[in-house]
Amino acid sequence: MNRTLIYFALAGIAIILQTVLLPLVLTGDYKPDLLLILVVYLGLHEGPWRGGSLVYLMGWFYDGVAGAFPGLHGFVLLGIFLAVRAIVTRVNTESSPLLLLLVLAGTILDSFLTAFALDFFSHAARIWPQMAWHLPVQLLLNFIAALILLRITVWLQRTFMPRKKLPGLRKLDSRYES
């Protein structure tokens, strides 16, 4: 229960950052998708049922502050979560480069699923040309955001909770990586 609340609090912080604070410092309409990074993390470290339902609910909350299509982000984020779950047994989930790589792959999958859901199911104009144009910048932003978040999280863990085990972050600290 505590973990669930923490995940929702993190999602809330991500939403506030993306809607109010980051638009002030980033030009244009670009902003890193912090919720996507959280979903990739959940895919690596939470079980399919608990993680899946959490991610789907988060998607519905995301719809409240992004776009005008109810259920869209539930579908998209669940798709990303399930894709990460599909490979999770074959990889070292505590490797930080893997997390960064999955954020990049998640960003591509996010744009693909969004374009698919909008172009095939809604009355919106074709969105994929716009997405294809914006994707390189979005990839870069998400990558930098994931890198910064990883560094901050590891630093916070090392400073304030050196004995506490954070799922997936036990070995992300470079001291434990070989």
Binding site: V20, D63, V65, G67, F75, T114, A124, A125, R126, M131
Partner: protein, 272 residues
């Protein structure tokens, strides 16, 4: 068979879950024009926090702009007197007030030209995603704002209300891919539909025999049932007339600078 099922069960269940999510999304699209329960809850929860952060940012920006910046200036220019610094602060502040006054006066002038009730609102947050173009305003159902109402500024059309909670609403900007505005060219009255393309708009369904020039003004036609007739949408940025085909490819530059949207007007009654 059992072994095959055991091996592929996660994949199968994952696929079923994703399909259910897609079907639910598809069904939800039918109620797309209304604010659902979860969206209303999200607006209620995030709205006050966003207002708080917005006010805090305004406060910090004001402090930085009117005080800290001048302290730095004073450090760099020791010869300046305390009186000078204070006067500069007042001047900077009055500049900001003057600019705000100018913006509000424009809105007020525009408001007076409209024969329908308008409600001024402040933009408090942007869309959380890079793929969509929406903004949140600090007015909602308690102030008379409901879904479908047009939103404008003095320069032209901003968008329409797509979600509303008691105290906050979300506006779908005309530049969003899912936005379409029935429009016409002011000079030759050629009709079409302006669709969002991110930073720009495309003017669809203008017949190829229509004479369209770069710089022509595009206004709302009032045909869509959302926007009153005659509001400025933008101006023609480029025209491409191919050898074949019924329509021309026209790009429209919006008249509103969406990157600096601070105050807007909600038109409380639809077109007459």
């Amino acid at each position: 068979m059992w072994e095959w099922w055991q091996k592929n069960r996660p994949l199968f269940l994952g696929g079923v879950l994703l399909l259910v999510a897609l079907l639910w999304y598809s069904v939800s699209l039918r109620q797309q024009e209304e604010t659902n329960f979860i969206e209303s809850v999200v607006l209620r929860l995030t709205g006050p926090v966003q207002v708080g952060f917005d006010n805090m940012i305004l406060g910090v920006a004001s402090t930085w702009g009117h005080y800290l910046y001048l302290v730095d200036t004073a450090d760099e220019n020791r010869t300046l007197s305390e009186e000078n610094r204070t006067l500069r602060a007042v001047l900077t502040q009055s500049d900001e007030v003057r600019l705000e006054n100018k913006r509000l006066r424009l809105l007020l002038d525009f408001k007076e030209t409209q024969d329908i009730d308008t409600l001024p609102a402040r933009v408090i947050a942007e869309d959380a995603s890079s793929w969509f173009r929406t903004v949140m305003i600090d007015k909602g159902q308690e102030h008379g704002v409901t879904e479908g109402m047009p939103v404008v500024v003095a320069e032209g059309v901003v968008g329409r209300v797509v979600r509303s909670s008691p105290r906050f609403s979300r506006i779908l900007l005309v530049t969003d891919a899912s936005s379409a505005v029935a429009s016409l060219l002011q000079d030759n009255r050629a009709r079409g539909v302006c669709r969002g393309q991110g930073e720009q708009l495309v003017f669809d369904f203008v017949l190829r025999q229509e004479e369209v020039k770069v710089g022509d003004r595009v206004v709302t036609s009032g045909m869509g049932g959302v926007f009153p007739k005659g509001l400025v949408v933008g101006s023609v940025g480029s025209v491409e007339r191919q050898e074949f085909g019924l329509f021309q490819a026209i790009e429209v530059i919006p008249s509103v600078d969406f990157s600096h949207l601070e105050e807007v007007l909600v038109l409380l009654r639809g077109p007459q």
